[in-house]
Subunit: 384 residues, 2 copies
C-alpha cells in the first residue's frame, strides 16, 4: 500500500510538473550584443520586454498567436508565450497595431521581411554549434544576370582547406531557401556552414562547396522579386543552369560534372529543385527535398504519365540516374506537407525508386527541420 | 527700370525656391524588397510611414531630431524630416515611447544596435555604385581568439582575380569601424568592396586584400563587447598583431611585410589604428585616419614628448617610415572632431611629417565622409 501511495504521489507530481512555470529564463542566443531581452526558458517559452510608456497595448506575435504583454510602473511591457518547438522561429512585436521587429534581436529574412528571430535551444544543437574545428568560409558572390537583367547575389561556402589545397577540386551542393526567404537564409538561420564544418571535422561528410542563391528570379517583362510559391514565369531554373553553374565552375575549383553535383532545397526550394533535377539529369546526381515536393500542395495520387511531363514514368531510369533521392519532413508539420510528401513517396515506391525518408522529431515547417535535414543529407553526398 | 524689375523678380523667385516642398519622393535604396516606405526626396527629406491604428503618437527619429508623424483615417502615420545631408544615416521610429526599427528598411549595426538605415543619394554616388565591372568577394572568417577566449569574426575582401591568379600575392589594408559599430560596417554601409571594385576596374588602385575586424576586444577578466570609445583595457591591438595578421598571412596569399601592409580606421578606429601603427612601425607603412586621431577628444596643442609615449617626437624618423600619412574629415563634422584633428595636423606640420589632408564636402561624422575617405586613401596605397 505504501508503494502505491508513493507511485500515486509521483504520478501527481509528474502530471503537475509541466504546469509549474519555469523561471529559468536566459537571453536568447539571437539577441543583439548586450541585450537582455527576449529571453527563453527551459520549457521553450519566450519572454519579451520593451519600454513603451505611452502605449495602450503591446503584444508578442509568435507561432501565429499574439500574447498580451503587461505594463509595469516604469512603462516597460513584459510577457511570455506558450512553449515553442525547439529551434529557430521568426516573430515580431505589435505596438498599438504597428507590427515591428523586436529591437532586442538580430534580424533575419523570412516571411517576406527582415525581422526578429529567436532560438529555442534544441537537444541536438551540437550538430550546428560553433565549435573549435577548422572552419570554411562563406563568401558573397555578386553577378549580373543577363536573363533577369539585374544584379543578383549568391553565397558560397568553401570548406576548410579550400584556399590552401590549391590543386584540389571539390563537388558542389546547390542549396535553396523557401518561400518568402532569400539567399541569406541557409548560412544565417540555416547554419549550413557550421553543419558542414562539424560534419567534415568528424569525417562524416566529404569537403564540398555549397552555393546558396536566391530562388526568386524573373525576366524583366515579369519582374517581381517578392513573388509567391509557384509563379509560372519564374526564370530561376534558367538562371541556375545557364548562369550560376557556369560561373561557379569558372570561379571555383569544382569537379564540373553531374556525379559531383547535388541539388536540394526546402519547401518552395524543394519544389523548385525537384523540377530542376528532373529537367537536368545530365547535370545533377543527388537530390534532397526538405519539407517539400513538386506535387505540392495536393495529396492526390500522382499520375506519373502527366506529373512533371512524365519525368518519373520510367522509374527504373530515374532510380539508376539519381544516386541519392532524399526526402525529409518534421513530425509536427502542418497540412498540406505530410499529405503531399506522403503521396509523393507512394509514387516513388510504386515506381521502384529508392529513396531515403527522414523525419525530424517534434519540429514543424521551420529551420530546425531543415538544419537536421541538411545534417543527414550531406553525409550521403559524393560517397560514390 | 524694366531690367531691375526682372532682376528683383528673379531674386524673389530664387529666395522662395528652396521653400517649395519637393514632392519627388522615391523609395529609399536601403528599403527591404518591395517596401514603398521610407522615401527620400531631392531635398534630402525623409518621409516615413507606418500602420499603427491604436497609437497615440508616432515619431521619426533621425539626425538627433524627432519629427511628429500624423495619422490618417486608415490608421497610417506619415511625416517628413528636415533635409538631411547626402549619404547614409542611422535612424529609428518611436511609437508611443517605444524606439523601434522601421519595418520598411534593411538593418545595419551602428549606434550600438541593429537598426534602420537610410540613403540620401549623393552627387558622387558613382564611386560606390554597383557597376558592371569585375567584382571581388567579401568572405566571413571565423576564428577563435586565445587572447579574448572567444569566437571572433572578420570580413575579408579579396579583389577580382584573386581566386584565378593563384600565384599572385597581394598587399593588405586593415580597415576599422567606429564606436558602437562592428566588423559588418565597412562592407555594408561602408561599401568598401564596391569602392575598391570600381577603383581597381579604373586602374586607380592596385588590387589589395581588405581585412575588416571588430575593434572591440577584451580579455576574459574585462569582457565587455559593447564598450565605449577609449577603454584602457582593450585587447584589440594584441588580437590584431598576434592573431589576425598571422592568420591572414597564413590563410591568404599576402605580401607579408610592412611595405605591403596599410592600416586605417574611422573615428574610434582612427584613434585605435594610429596607436597601433605607432607601436608597430615594423608592421605597417601606410596610415589612414578618417574623422579621428589619437589626441581625441582634446583640441589642445600636442606635446610630442608625452603624446603616445613620444611616438611623434622624432618627426623625421616618422616621416621616413610612413609612406602615406592620410587624414580626412567632413566639413560638417561636429565638435570635437575639427578641433582635435586640427591640433593633430598642427603637430604634424611642426614635426615636419608629410601628410595628406582631405575634406569631404558637406558631410558630417557619417558614412559618406568615410566612403569618400576610403576612395581617396586607397588610390595612394602600395604605389610602387
Amino acid at each position: 500500500m505504501k508503494h502505491i501511495k508513493v507511485i500515486v504521489a509521483l504520478i501527481v507530481l509528474a502530471v503537475h510538473m509541466p504546469c509549474v512555470a519555469q523561471t529559468d529564463y536566459m537571453p536568447s542566443e539571437t539577441n543583439q550584443p548586450g541585450k537582455e531581452f527576449p529571453k527563453v526558458n527551459s520549457e521553450g517559452r519566450v519572454r519579451a520586454s520593451i519600454l513603451a510608456p505611452e502605449a495602450n497595448k503591446v503584444q508578442l506575435d509568435i507561432g501565429g498567436v499574439k500574447y498580451d504583454l503587461t505594463k509595469d510602473s516604469e512603462g516597460v511591457w513584459t510577457g511570455e508565450s506558450a512553449p515553442q518547438d525547439e529551434g529557430f522561429h521568426y516573430y515580431q512585436l505589435n505596438i498599438d497595431g504597428a507590427s515591428v521587429p523586436d529591437p532586442g534581436t538580430k534580424y533575419y529574412y523570412g516571411a517576406g521581411r527582415w525581422g526578429s528571430g529567436i532560438e529555442i535551444p534544441a537537444k541536438d544543437r551540437e550538430i550546428y554549434a560553433l565549435k573549435n574545428v577548422p572552419h570554411g568560409r562563406v563568401s558573397e558572390q555578386l553577378y549580373f544576370s543577363n536573363i533577369t537583367q539585374a544584379w543578383r547575389r549568391c553565397f558560397v561556402y568553401t570548406p576548410p582547406g579550400y584556399n590552401k589545397n590549391t590543386d584540389a577540386q571539390y563537388p558542389v551542393l546547390y542549396l535553396q531557401h523557401g518561400s518568402f526567404e532569400d539567399e541569406t537564409g541557409w548560412a544565417t538561420q540555416g547554419k549550413a556552414n557550421l553543419i558542414l564544418d562539424n560534419l567534415i571535422a568528424a569525417d562524416k561528410a566529404v569537403p564540398m562547396i555549397i552555393v546558396m542563391d536566391n530562388g526568386y528570379a524573373f525576366k524583366p517583362q515579369d519582374n517581381n522579386s517578392t513573388g509567391g510559391n509557384r509563379r509560372p514565369q519564374s526564370a530561376f531554373e534558367e538562371v541556375l543552369i545557364n548562369e550560376v553553374i557556369p560561373m561557379i565552375d569558372s570561379e571555383y575549383r569544382t569537379h564540373a560534372n553531374r556525379e559531383h553535383r547535388a541539388i536540394a532545397g526546402l519547401s518552395m526550394g524543394a519544389n523548385q529543385t525537384m523540377r530542376i533535377i528532373m529537367n537536368n539529369l545530365d547535370k545533377f546526381a543527388y537530390y534532397g527535398g526538405f519539407s517539400g515536393t513538386s506535387n505540392y500542395p495536393t495529396s492526390d495520387k500522382i499520375d506519373t504519365k502527366t506529373f512533371l511531363n512524365g519525368a518519373f514514368d520510367d522509374g527504373k531510369a530515374v532510380d539508376e540516374k539519381i544516386k541519392v533521392f532524399w526526402l525529409g519532413l518534421g513530425t509536427n508539420e502542418p497540412d498540406p506537407f505530410p499529405g503531399s510528401v506522403g503521396a509523393f513517396r507512394e509514387m516513388l515506391i510504386e515506381q521502384g525508386i529508392d529513396h531515403v525518408y527522414y523525419e525530424s522529431p517534434e519540429t514543424a515547417h521551420e529551420w530546425l527541420t531543415w538544419r537536421r535535414s541538411l545534417y543527414q543529407y550531406a553525409q550521403l553526398l559524393f560517397q560514390k
